[in-house]
Symmetry: C2
Subunit: 531 residues, 2 copies
């Protein structure tokens, strides 16, 4: 059977554009002799629609677009994902169109994504259909994980999916599909959504496996169109994956689409001389071009000499416009004005935070004045620990490294420098510091990052308890301190700027703690609470 | 049948304290001769637990607490709400304990609250049980809205609930329960959660209706304990409700519990001379006492004379400590420092926002230095329209008026002044202004608040489309402008401080729009999109 796979980048709510892209691919597939063309879940609407799913006019508009698409499906079968309002339920559906007739809907049953649980209802799940001589099972989204398509005498399982990218997701996904197609002796056609959509990145990587052998692999992080003959096609090797390269591509796609789809052109950020802002700048220049990125260096009296020189070197490496604006006078003016209130006290986090907040005000002034979009430069390790300033360095329109641990940021930095030194080596090598007081180093209050990140990974991503982590060989005091910091800093994370989701468990949507929370995860979580 | 109702204020995760409160009420109920004592949904754990539901140790700890509670249930039956991990599902359950034995679990089937959809699984729903000569249906939460307890020959329907307060919720809830008990000719025992929990307020207002007649009403917004004889009790009138009084009580309880349960004592805020900050200050003083509240007046060159004098008058009315800190010097220093970047441009929103951000930095300096908690002073009308400054007046630990439209804030202000003039009349009477530029008035860019709020109410709370609202008699240009502003300012609301939920549709949890969103709700929502 000749099946075309259209892996296209749609935009949420851009129904007209999405419709045109779909219709174009239908003609292309027919010309290529395909019997069936498959589009991903949410093709008509884009994904994720959030509250738009509650607007009946939006769902009607999606159906209107579908009807128009159907009028173009002469001589070809089409499987297309869209949200549908069906018997009081809001359902993520696949529709089968054949010879311009809307033949059948298949509604998703299992909803595992947190945001979808709010906006979508569970439907009836997998369905079956004959196209030519082939019997197909049609499965939407994560319904593929249940095995309802088992008993039926199907040749091909078609899965329309919107499966977001996260750390090592592509390789595990290939693995699952390969295994399932081998065990069940069927051909699996996996068609994935593509593109940056709000905080989410869909990586595409659509593929076809026949009885455990890959016979088609579409590109990752790019549009692609493939026609595959499920019977005649020869096996091809599974594309090798590199974690850091994929993360880099995901950041690029997420940032690109956030700007492109929103009609934004220009970004700005504060360049501190540290590795976080260096990585954000490098990605921004890669995506938007040096001419569309502008940076400020905002040194205070606590900034070391090398902070500014390293930052300037990097800006000049990349050819971006930069200004060095010392914050000392503004800091002194705020501090002096506040003397009636805070005069006579000694230097503490108050004074540290004033510096971060003045920087935020200055960066936002640049953004407001000339229409730049401020990029945030916080990483997940410091966000977890609360080693950040609210309304200071937590600000921005989008964070592209906020779901990467510090050690991952270093990996990305080294990847950026793989050919030439874009990020000055000194930025990567020096000991991380917030430089908000004299001689400050991150290591004064945080464990070494390799240790911190190893514990955070277990606690956050793998959902291990304190006891479990201690039993794995980590020091009790350190683990419980980290658990406590994560809990105590939830109030900050609630006000963090939107973060591109690159891990299996980003803070925010699912990892959301109560703001009033007396539960103590240690010493041993079952027996104690301190009230 | 003699049933005791324990309406108590629990704290999320404070399992030991919650357990003690529950055990105390069990003894009290037995002494009062009750056959059964009923606690609300989530009594053991507190509600809402968010991500704690994903921690197996937390669910185990809840069960351990339940087992200890059971050991105290000699000679009395107990119905108690707690989360349970049951056959791979996380279930909001009621447990029946009789003579120290754990007899039966009843798991909630219908999950309508957005946050619960993420963290809870659907269980089997309503169950039945005999206690003495009575047959009871036990229903958890919103399962009461389905009618599975119909066919059964029950005398009494017991509903353990955690039903949050929102605008006019108490009166509609009484109405539903009264009607259901009349139609089905049964006695309904409704036991509700109480207290401020993160952004949510549970109002209590537990009640018993027998065949359409109220026979017991517990207090709203307060703990209460009542023993009711479901057969012998005489009818009592339904307590009258006043919308503004209830909103005021909800704000008080939400603010009180946020501080009390978190161990916070002192609050600070910026007092602008406008009605929003005046209302927040009045509530804060009512809850925390004047000695625990401190305000800053932060005038700029654009502040009118009366702004400071009105604010000072109010602070003196209430006896709170205040300082007048002009921001002009700090503003000039920031603006002057940024000259290399923004010099030579004319005054626009950039300069307006700098003022708001300097105020934020100063208020946070006060908060950081002395441990005050910053209260936000934004209202829902301006949050909807984006008439606010990110990292400026959108900052704070908690907003108690962020889910109230401006017209509701005025109602609350008048209620606060019902006996004596706490808020100077001039603050209530003068035309609202952000005072960020010369002669600025809210009405320069916003429709009059009565009109704006009427449209927002239809668009946000009632989910009407633009066409529907225009057909109801509102001007097309105004309605579509408002719809556009709501969409365009989603990025700001994503970084808004936590807001006490007082309406049926607060921004954030459910009302969350995509950050990339090309869907146009007008001119007529079905037919058009502009891309």
């Amino acid at each position: 059977m000749k099946i075309a796979i259209a892996q296209q980048n749609y935009t949420v709510g851009a129904l007209k554009n999405n419709k045109f892209k779909i219709i174009e691919s239908i003609y292309r597939a027919r010309e290529a002799g395909a019997e069936l063309v498959v589009f991903p879940e949410h093709a008509v609407s884009g994904a994720n629609c959030y509250y738009l799913m509650n607007k009946s006019q939006f769902l009607e508009a999606c159906e209107v677009a579908m009807v128009e698409i159907a009028s173009h499906c002469e001589g070809i079968a089409v499987l297309l994902g869209l949200p549908v309002y069906d018997r009081n339920k809001r359902v993520s559906s696949a529709v089968l169109i054949k010879d311009r007739r809307i033949v059948k809907f298949f509604g998703k049953k299992n909803i595992s994504c947190a945001d979808e649980k709010i906006y979508y209802d569970s439907s009836t799940g997998c369905g079956f259909v004959n196209i030519g001589d082939n019997r197909l099972a049609v499965v939407v989204g994560e319904d593929i994980q249940t095995e309802e398509w088992f008993g039926d005498n199907t040749d091909v399982v078609v899965n329309l999916h919107a499966d977001r990218y996260f750390r090592r997701r592509i390789e595990t996904r290939y693995d699952h599909i390969k295994t399932a197609s081998f065990i069940h002796k069927k051909t699996f056609v996996f068609v994935n959504h593509l593109g940056g959509q709000s905080e989410t990145v869909y990586d595409g990587s659509s593929c076809v496996f026949r009885r455990g052998e890959g016979i088609a692999f579409l590109k990752s992080f790019e549009e692609d169109f493939v026609v595959v003959d499920t019977v005649a096609a020869s096996p091809v090797p599974i594309p090798p994956q590199n974690h850091t390269v994929n993360v880099y591509k995901a950041m690029k796609l997420g940032l690109h689409d956030y700007f492109e789809k929103n009609g934004f052109k220009k970004a700005c950020l504060g360049l501190s001389g540290g590795v976080d802002s260096a990585v954000v700048l490098a990605v921004a220049v890669d995506v938007l071009g040096a001419e569309n990125v502008r940076v400020l260096m905002l040194p205070s009296q606590f900034s070391s000499e090398h902070s500014v020189t390293d930052a300037v070197e990097m800006a000049e490496n990349l050819g971006v416009e930069y200004d060095v604006i010392p914050i000392t006078e503004a800091y002194n003016a705020v501090h002096e004005s506040m003397k009636p209130v805070i005069g006579g006290t000694s230097f503490d986090k108050t004074e540290e935070n004033i510096q971060a907040r003045i920087r935020c005000a200055m960066l936002m002034a640049l953004a407001n004045k000339f229409g730049y979009i401020l990029l945030n430069t916080s990483n997940k390790s410091e966000i977890a620990m609360g080693y950040t300033t609210l309304y200071g360095d937590m600000a921005g329109a989008l964070s592209i490294i906020g779901d990467l641990y510090k050690t991952e940021v270093f990996s990305v930095a080294r990847y950026i420098n793989r050919r030439i030194e874009i990020i000055p080596e000194n930025i990567i090598k020096k000991a991380p510091s917030a430089e908000l007081k004299e001689g400050q180093k991150d290591s004064d209050v945080l464990p070494p990052y390799d240790l911190l990140d190893a514990i955070l990974l277990r606690f956050v991503e793998e959902n291990h308890g304190v006891e479990e982590i201690v039993n794995a060989g980590y020091e009790y005091n350190m683990v419980s301190h980290i658990a406590e910091c994560i809990k105590e800093n939830e109030f900050k994370r609630r006000q963090l700027c939107p973060v591109l989701q690159l891990s299996s468990r980003p803070f925010g949507t699912v990892y959301k703690l109560p703001l009033i929370n007396k539960y103590i995860l240690y010493p041993y979580e079952v027996v104690s609470d301190k009230e």
